[in-house]
Amino acid sequence: MTQFLQQLINGLSLGSIYALIALGYTMVYGILKLINFAHGEVFMVGAYTGFYAAGFLGVADFEAQNHSFPLYLALLVLIIAMAAAALLGMTIEFLAYRPVRSAPRLTPLITAIGVSLFLQNAGMLLFSPNPQRYPAILSEVRFAVFGVIVTNIKLTIFAVALCLMFGLHLFVQKTWTGRAMRALSFNIDAAKLMGIDTNQVIRVTFAIGSALAAAGGILFGLDQITINPLMGVLTGLKAFVAAVLGGIGSIPGAVVGGLLIGLAEQLTAGYLSPEYRDAITFLILILILLLKPEGLLGVVRVEKV
């Protein structure tokens, strides 16, 4: 029983990170009908920015003296990483996606794959392909609850993820830009006719999605102990599956999807075999696309000719 609860907790914390990343995918796809393959790499860059920012702010000294990294500095690291990722996201949109926005579906798809590959390999060149230990931006505190080990990092992941998702939900529902985003996801041409600056809204969408992914990246590093330049590949793909599972274009869907994928992965690794942890995600993708392509919380869209 303890083992099951432990796997459950692990799965939920992993799933929360997937949810954070999935939000970026779902928002961009909702508006542009484009799978931003590079989103996983933005997640990776966010994690590395946090890594270098923390190093720059002297985390190594705190570690050596066994003091905990001050909270205000930790928040600073988070903000820096989120800002950097937002910038990266907007740059990718401007340089790679905007020129091909009106092209047939295939072209942006290949471009997205190209950007993803580029960032992965540039990352390997810039950041060294070896795994790096993530600095203790948050010092780890463990509690045992009924034999299950929970760390403060896992609790932070839940808390941060929930706050950010709730914040995003409010933003999309209550603010003007949020409403514009929803309008674009319904019909981008009509929105343009209504006088909405689509370029601006798309920019904001990319920025927000990327910032969330960066937060996920830092949390991932803290929880998974090491980061490496290819960390975004599989994680990004799984987050995309999560977005599809929950219903692409639906924000609560991304959250639900993320948690479910995280759980499925962890339980498969624990009870079936660690070998199949990645395969289960793809299996879920195939099943959901065959059985309920609009996702669990999604809405069926009719394709008009």
Binding site: I225, G270, E275
Partner: protein
């Protein structure tokens, strides 16, 4: 007009790409080997996730070659070392050996560290009849490829027995779990050897879990092992994952020592593992803190030249190069077949990792050392002979 512009841009990009590619080509061919040189090839993973292995081995090889050249070379000729990067990929390894033979015209090759790469490269070397000495590949299959393939390190059946004996007799454990890397020939072979020996000595393997090289999340496996009564976990993997595994175990409350093999040997192990890896043990070829005269000189020279102490792999790279140089001398001529015979006849060669006699299976009979991790360093614990 638009088409013209686009075609122009495309053409320019293509031209730029082609020129960058062709620019590199002359350098790639390298300077031709002069008749007054003996060319030796080394293929190793200088980049990629096991870069530390390749780089340290190469440092050892390079040191040996330079020392030999300083003493006047071999058979009146200087030695030329060409190192090619395999990037940890076995297709690359085969390519690299082909290139060393065809383009660099080497008389012999050294390499590789990882057994799967040695197998790939070895098959090429065997077919082309160029002798090969692997410094550190411990999987028995490597030398079974053919009579041109040798090694200067112990093999995994022995290494598994070493750790099993240590666990059973020195640490007095009777229940051990195994966590192996299923993507890695070396790890699977070593796990098999350990399992066989440990059971033969009366111990029980309570559970066997697995992971893949490149994984970062081990919480599922560690949680599963935590639920058993294992007194230790045998983790015959590479340093890149072992550090993280140790931290995960520490975090999830699995407070038993970890046991491992020579794949742990890298400074990154301590960097990533931190405090969590203290109190664990691993078998290796060489203990930097216990030295004979020869090894002391080697460690001093290595540290002076490279600014860091050698790992077991650096020592074995040095060793392999020394054996090869000695064999060329004994062969009396720069001929691959003669060199091969000389290597096979190596007897009681005094190296830095012990005395080397190449047996009929082209492996040496050597002892292993068991190192304990303490305070971020590996310290000699005991030595176990075959």
């Amino acid at each position: 007009m638009r088409i013209l512009r686009r075609t122009l841009i495309f053409g320019l990009c293509a031209a730029a790409l082609v020129s960058t590619i062709s620019c590199k080509k002359p350098a790639a061919d390298g300077s031709a080997t002069e008749a007054t040189e003996i060319a030796i090839g080394h293929y190793a993973s200088m980049t990629g996730s096991t870069a530390h292995f390749g780089q340290d081995t190469d440092r050892g090889v390079r040191l040996a070659i330079e020392e030999a050249n300083a003493r006047g070379g071999v058979l009146g000729k200087k030695l030329k070392l060409v190192t090619l990067d395999t990037r940890g990929d076995s297709a690359e390894a085969a390519n690299a050996v082909n290139r060393l033979i065809d383009v660099e015209k080497v008389s012999a090759v050294l390499g590789e560290v990882a057994s799967s790469l040695s197998l790939a490269g070895g098959r090429v070397a065997q077919r082309r009849k160029i002798p090969m000495i692997s410094p550190t590949s411990t999987n028995p299959k490597v030398t079974e490829v053919g009579d041109y393939i040798f090694r200067v390190c112990f093999i995994d059946p022995f290494q598994g027995k070493v750790m099993a004996t240590f666990a059973r007799q020195n640490l007095k454990f009777d229940k051990v779990a195994i966590l192996k890397d299923v993507k890695n020939d070396y790890s699977i072979g070593l796990a098999d050897a350990f399992r066989k020996s440990f059971s033969a000595l009366g111990g029980t393997i309570v559970v066997e879990q697995s992971y893949s090289q490149g994984d970062t999340d081990f919480s599922a496996q560690v949680t599963a092992i935590r639920g058993t009564q294992a007194q230790a976990v045998f983790v015959p993997g590479y340093y890149s994952e072992v550090g993280t595994i140790a931290r995960t175990a520490d975090r999830l409350g699995l407070k038993v020592p970890l046991l491992g093999g020579d794949g742990w040997d890298s400074p990154d192990l301590f960097k990533i593992g931190g405090d969590a890896i203290n109190g664990s043990y691993f078998s290796d070829h060489f203990a930097p803190d216990v030295a004979t005269e020869k090894s002391k000189a080697f460690v001093a020279n290595f540290t002076k030249k490279y600014g860091q102490a050698p790992t077991g792999l650096g020592a074995l790279g040095y060793e392999a190069a020394l054996v090869l140089i000695d064999s060329i001398k004994r062969a009396g001529k720069n001929d691959p077949a003669a060199i091969r015979d000389a290597i096979a006849a190596t007897k009681d060669f005094e190296g830095v990792t012990g005395k080397i006699t190449i047996d009929a299976q082209r492996n040496p009979q050597k002892s292993a050392v068991v190192l304990k991790v303490e305070g971020g360093k590996a310290k000699f614990e005991t030595s176990i002979a075959p």
